[in-house]
């Protein structure tokens, strides 16, 4: 058994929270630059230039690129040969989030109850997705998710007869309806299959992929490209001011599903597409 101390887990999560919120991934930045250079709308080019400049400034000054530093979503892949020492995994992750949001001067956006809405003061609790995997590694991914784009996300249970066309139409209509609200250019995370809650998880998980990483199945890879092209003919454009670049990317994740169901989830991600990973 490999021993990993909770102290190291908290420390890693703390750093990931700060890095994710201040350093936009090179993959996202490169795609933003490409889209800026080929955007045909003048106001669209201006918006994309400012988004790129903002990301550069955030990294250089170690400031969060967006004031909404989000719900801390933490994906954990725990190798079954790992033994956690000195405490428990969940507490260690929550402690790391609390420290990261405090020390990184990140905004605390969590309220303890949906109705009394009292701020918890340290952005906990994080939403934790735990998966056990073979091996002796612990992989931690922190993906802060802002409220604006999260609010424009959805799950629908389509009848299987809706088929591929039904799924395409639903995704496209949803992005169109979301319009300027989720801070386009967006990344469209699509979950297809599974059941009600698993489908939403798939959509969220797809957002962890790097821009340009295609689905391993050529059928879904082609569908991703097709949907991206379709979304970018909507004309919504950067910030919804009109333009070519409505989405930077479309990612699809799928899972087996019930004979009666065709669940589809769309998790929209704003251009501040933040995720950072560490392996212990």
């Amino acid at each position: 058994m490999k021993q990993i101390h909770v102290r190291d887990i908290s420390g890693a999560v703390k750093n990931l929270c700060i890095e994710a919120n201040t350093c936009l991934g090179e993959d996202v930045l490169n795609r933003l630059r490409e889209c800026r250079d080929r955007e045909s709308s003048a106001i669209g080019r201006q918006v994309l230039s400012q988004i790129v400049r903002n990301a550069d400034m955030a990294r250089d000054e170690a400031m969060p690129m967006c004031q909404d530093t989000g719900v801390a979503v933490v994906f954990v892949e725990l190798g079954q040969e790992v033994h956690i020492q000195g405490g428990n995994l969940t507490d260690a992750i929550q402690e790391g989030v609390s420290e990261g949001y405090r020390q990184g001067y990140l905004r605390k956006s969590m309220v303890r109850d949906p109705f009394d809405r009292v701020n918890t003061g340290d952005n906990t609790p994080a939403v934790i997705h735990l998966e056990t995997v073979p091996g002796d590694l612990l992989r931690l991914t922190v993906a802060p998710k802002g409220g604006g784009s999260e609010n424009m996300s959805t799950v629908v249970m389509l009848p299987p007869s809706a088929g591929l066309d039904g799924v395409r139409e639903f995704v496209l209509n949803w992005v169109e309806r979301a319009g300027a609200n989720p801070c386009p250019p967006v990344i469209v995370g699509v979950g297809i299959g599974g059941n009600f809650e698993h489908c939403a998880y798939l959509a969220k998980k797809s957002l962890l992929r790097d821009i340009g990483d295609r689905h391993p199945d050529p059928f879904y890879a082609a569908l991703e490209i097709q949907l991206l092209e379709a979304v970018n003919t909507l004309g919504i454009g950067p910030q919804g001011f009109g333009g070519d670049c409505t989405a930077l990317e479309v990612f699809i994740e799928t899972a087996p599903c019930h004979i009666a169901s065709l669940p589809v989830a769309v998790n929209l991600q704003c251009h501040a597409a933040r995720h950072r990973q560490a392996v212990l």
Binding site: I43, I51, M63, P64, Y105, I236, Q239
Partner: protein, 191 residues
Amino acid sequence: MKKAVQHIITPPLTEESCMRLMAGDSVLIRGSIYTARDAAHQRMVQCLERGEPLPVSLDGQIIYYAGPSPAKPGHIVGSIGPTTAGRMDAYAPALIEAGLKGMIGKGSRSGTVTDAMRKHHAVYLGAIGGAAVLLAKCILEVQIEAYEDLGPEAVRRLVVHDFPAVVINDCHGNDLYRSGRKNHLRSIRHA
């Protein structure tokens, strides 16, 4: 399509100054604006319903829908981009009636809000969502004016210089989210 114009505006805004702003125009704001979002709006509207004075006079003023991240040592404010304006739609008409002339946010507004804007000559401006460091650089002073207990949601007075925004909804009924998209699609079809 009319060519977009750049305006420099300084609150308090008058009906006349609002009427000159057209959807698609860009503005640079100089002077004082106030931040408020969900919780502060709820309290201000409750104030008006009870017939009490607002904690700050909104006459001719601009509200920026924003809740900043905490300021780092040596900074006056953290990152501060706009939040989704639609969540304030339930409260905005009452504040417009109380004299509010401008709102800065991102995302579309309801018909009730745009109706109130037309009636009282107010404007809705869009700042770039997510450009929160860039926007923080336009802020010269920050002062908490009300509801300090709300933390990032407190009402702050910001003194800004050349704070950039785009007119989304003007007081003549135009909407950049509709016209911008329509014009873009027309232009690429004719390209």
